[in-house]
Symmetry: C2
Subunit: 202 residues, 2 copies
């Protein structure tokens, strides 16, 4: 008799993750209670402790996953390019992936962009390190474009942050039933990013 699909990870734990993610993103970590999370899952608050050690552990689990997903999303996009793709193409791929993530996975994006401060000190440090590495991967692309003369940027650091932050903002206004589809939004932001790195110094 065929073995039933074994649960590799608890289905309840995943429901808890999903409920906590939505509420942390929507109301904030401090304003969300363990009783709130449990109620969305249909259990009692005490039962959450069969799956997670503490409220902060849930936040850290979600934060780490979100940041890993963000990295994986970028890696996938860059891996699809030719190995020797020119910086302009890499920048376009990066920005498109970045914006796509922030539109498609709003809750994860909002969590990463507004709830890091509620992590424990140790976890906060790790999260900031991951965020810095992500930022660095964009700066590296821009640096390469400047070095090759393809880009004209008066301050690489400011351009890096500006491109990231305008894309990050998408998670706050994008709605799936809005005027623009996700792919249109991505295309718009790619244009803006290219404009930023190719402008004439005045």
């Amino acid at each position: 008799m065929p073995q039933a699909v074994s649960k590799v990870r608890s289905a309840t734990a995943d429901e808890i993750r999903q409920a906590a993610l939505e509420q942390f993103a929507q109301s904030g970590y401090e304003a969300t209670t363990m009783r709130d999370i449990a109620a969305s899952v249909g259990i009692k608050a005490a039962s959450l402790y069969n799956h997670f050690d503490s409220k902060e552990e849930i936040l850290w689990d979600l934060t780490r996953s979100a940041m890993r997903d963000l990295d994986a999303n970028r890696d996938d996009a860059l891996a699809r390019l030719a190995p020797a793709a020119v910086p302009r193409v890499k920048l376009a791929a990066f920005v498109s992936a970045h914006v796509d993530f922030h539109a498609e996975r709003r809750h994860q994006a909002v969590l990463v962009n507004s709830q890091l401060g509620s992590l424990s000190q140790a976890h906060h440090r790790k999260a900031v390190a991951l965020r810095d590495a992500y930022e660095n991967s964009l700066r590296t692309i821009i640096d390469a474009g400047v070095a090759s003369g393809e880009f004209t940027v008066s301050d690489v650091q400011v351009a890096t942050l500006a491109i990231l932050q305008m894309g990050t903002g998408v998670s706050f206004w994008f709605r799936p039933d809005g005027r623009l589809r996700i792919d249109q939004v991505c295309a718009e932001y790619v244009k803006l990013a290219l404009a930023i790195v190719r402008h004439e110094i005045q």
Copy 2:
């Protein structure tokens, strides 16, 4: 005998505002307690109620002030221009004022950009209306530039949000003792904004 300067507004109330602003911006509204605020001022929590009716009223007082200051800051910058200034000049003035505010008055900026959700429903509505009006004032400038042919923008709404959000992000990384002075940061962002509205459609 000369009248001593009468206190038009309570000095203690202003100390409370200052302490609450810093802590709301740094730790978030929910994570800040009335006892925390009182302790920074050097009084007991109950004494706060001699000056404000509730915790939420403090937040609303600070939020409304911050948004009024942001509007006034923009109005001052635009009023200094010639009445018939061209959209490019108006955009530069707007972005410079926007970035200057977000660098110089970080706490107020962070409050407006991350704590609106903790307001009561009625106050939240008013805050969103103010934010929309601010956004509209930038869109109007970009619209004028597009109408005159001075700007080339494939989507005015996206360009508006992108310019605002990249400037807003300054409040999260700017430090007075950092590599760039405020005026240098403003100048950089003006360049980026002009690049965004003048890029060729591809």
